[in-house]
Symmetry: C2
Subunit: 397 residues, 2 copies
């Protein structure tokens, strides 16, 4: 049985704070501090260049990829780490388009995170081959997967509302129409059970600084289904994706399978922190984890709906159609969230009017949910959001 109390103790959490923004940046795993010192002093400091072999730095992108792969149902050896999610979107999409040269449509939805759409736009413009990015509302995706569509690019969990796409069903529809399914797991990995292999996803990508707690700017990951892995042509054909990086051949030859999705020198320090964060997942029962996430989310919805009539649920009410967050519409959501933060409850705001609360059983418990609901209620009842200082727009990611 998963001991949630023990899990919470693995994180450094500021005194007196309720943190419901792990869907933007997960908190610091306590053990990452000493791990980083070891990596810096004993590996970088003492091994210097020999650390690439002796400390296993060169193999980290594949090793950590496999650790993440276990959380998302990937076949072993088919996930690799590196770069940022934006770059991984570009790689996956470029590869998918090259596998469907006769088709010109990329299908996505308005619930996708903007960088996915931006990267698609940039790729289309750079290619200059007449591709079209077709963006439809989330509930119209299925009907729009036609035999024109080269790639269906979707984020499983909507970053604003938490609305969950049906990965298995949409992937099946994509395949029936000869389209490739590219899934962004930014808000899925470490949040909900994912089974890429069972869903027959073609590509998947994700970041590691949200529910996986890898740290600010931690590297991204990419998955390619076994049937495609040796066939894709990397657009970003960097030396560490080469079949023999240290032969220094003048011409690029892709490495085996997912290895070809590596590009440049891997971020060793960031990977050390992430590796420690991934230790936490080793003994978690994902079914129990998901059940607890749903229970906490339901508790939060119940409390808020009972006391805050001005907040309207933006997330699906059905927990099976929702990721691991709860969002509400409120006209003055930005200021209201600033007021909550000032009161020690951190969630975040997404334009135009979404107050977003990430809920993960890793370090959020019932008391936190009760306290968060009380704080939101106080902010709403006392109209604390009317304070002018909360209307100065600031930036959060």
């Amino acid at each position: 049985m998963t001991d949630f109390k023990a899990l919470k103790d693995l994180f450094h959490l500021p005194e007196g704070l309720v943190y419901l923004d792990g869907n933007s940046l997960g908190p610091l795993p306590r053990a990452a501090l000493s791990r980083m010192q070891t990596t810096m002093r004993d590996e970088w400091g003492e091994m210097l260049i020999t650390g690439w072999n002796r400390a296993g730095w060169m193999d980290q992108p594949a090793r950590l990829g496999d650790r993440i792969g276990r959380l998302i149902g990937a076949e072993p050896g088919h996930v690799v780490l590196g770069d940022t999610l934006s770059i991984k979107v570009y790689q996956a999409l470029a590869a998918a388009l090259a596998l469907r040269p006769d088709r010109k449509v990329i299908l996505s939805d308005t619930g996708n995170f903007p960088t996915d759409l931006y990267m698609a736009e940039g790729l289309i413009k750079a290619l200059d081959q007449g591709h079209e990015l077709r963006v439809v509302p989330p509930n119209e995706v299925e009907a729009n997967i036609t035999n024109e569509v080269a790639a269906t690019l979707l984020t499983e969990v909507d970053y604003r509302t938490g609305r969950l796409h049906n990965m298995a069903q949409l992937t099946e529809k994509a395949h029936e129409n000869g389209s490739l399914a590219v899934w962004d797991l930014a808000h899925s990995a470490g949040a909900i059970p994912v089974d890429l292999a069972a869903c027959k996803a073609d590509f998947a990508i994700g970041c590691t600084y949200k529910f996986l707690n890898g740290g600010p700017g931690a590297p991204a990951f990419i998955y390619i289904a076994p049937e495609h892995a040796d066939r894709v042509q990397p657009a970003l054909s960097g030396w560490l994706g080469h079949a023999a990086p240290f032969a220094f051949d003048p011409h690029y030859q892709p490495g085996p399978g997912i290895e070809r999705m590596r590009v440049g020198t891997p971020p060793v320090l960031a990977m050390a922190a992430l590796d420690t964060a991934l230790d936490i997942w080793e003994n978690i029962d994902m079914a129990a984890f998901r059940a607890q996430s749903i229970a906490l989310s339901q508790l939060f919805i119940d409390r808020i709906e009972a006391t805050c009539p001005d907040l309207t649920l933006a997330s699906p009410r059905d927990p099976l159609r929702r990721g691991s967050q709860v969002s509400f519409h409120f006209q003055h959501g930005y200021a209201a969230m600033q007021a909550c933060i000032a009161e020690g409850v951190i969630g975040d705001f997404r334009a135009p009017d979404i107050m977003r609360f990430g809920i993960t059983p890793l370090y959020v418990d019932r008391q936190d949910i009760e306290r968060a609901a009380e704080t939101v209620t106080k902010v709403m009842h006392r109209k604390l959001w009317e304070n002018p200082e909360f209307h100065t727009v600031n930036r959060v990611t």
Copy 2:
């Protein structure tokens, strides 16, 4: 006057080791250890998501870009940090090609680092617009800069031999022929004086884990000349290069100038280490630094040539035509370098037969050079490289 002894004390260097591989991975700046703890515990740990504003994480890519900019003669506000050098090559090259739509030739040379050539190959294949990568010997570059050439993509310092291109002269020739000059400063930044603005370079890119000592996998940088900065269309159009990243617009609008070369979420932990490494450069007189680098290199060449007749100088003899490294040809160079490493002198090997020694006055002094020369001499005279264990090919970067 630059106090080289004091500089050396700023680095953690293993006891009894002479490290001549800072052109592959620079050593650990001592202060980076505590800086990283602060960033992890007091920023990530305590500020959590608010660190993006409160700790200035979001501005780090531009702030550190300017710090590097001062070392390479860039105009303020025209360098930004992020991703890897391979990605930055792709961005610069894609931008350059888009600025010269009527030309189809990318000119480079056999002295370029393979990943630059690989990224160009990948870009050409992805674009599928009939571009050609024309690779000539380094001494034939100038003659091949014709009015067919869209972009001249060169690494200033050859990673094997240390041969230095004349950046001013080749850039001028490029401009006379309507070509754009893209300079890779991987072995220049922190190694030799560079003056991008005076040379009128169009684009420059580089890494920070070599002579800048940012740590294994530290982020790369990119420079765009002011005249182009607001005109280039990013191929990798990520959300943090958007004019208003947190407006979550459905369409990409490039940010001002170099900001548009940002792609995804910046690597905060890696930037913390790099920031500390850059502190070291604040009071260095680059003319004195270069003079000392040349003096140490000359000493090493003199010693080796006096005692190791089987080693042939691979680097230019003229110090003004050489970066901050000295290389020798030797048929059994791989094994000989392994033997040197076993004897406590770390340099590295580059195929097919180059023994490479990075020499930087930051932490290499005359005693180190004497000791290194003695060790190489011992390895050669006693034929220590004949030891079979030194013939097992290993990987170093």
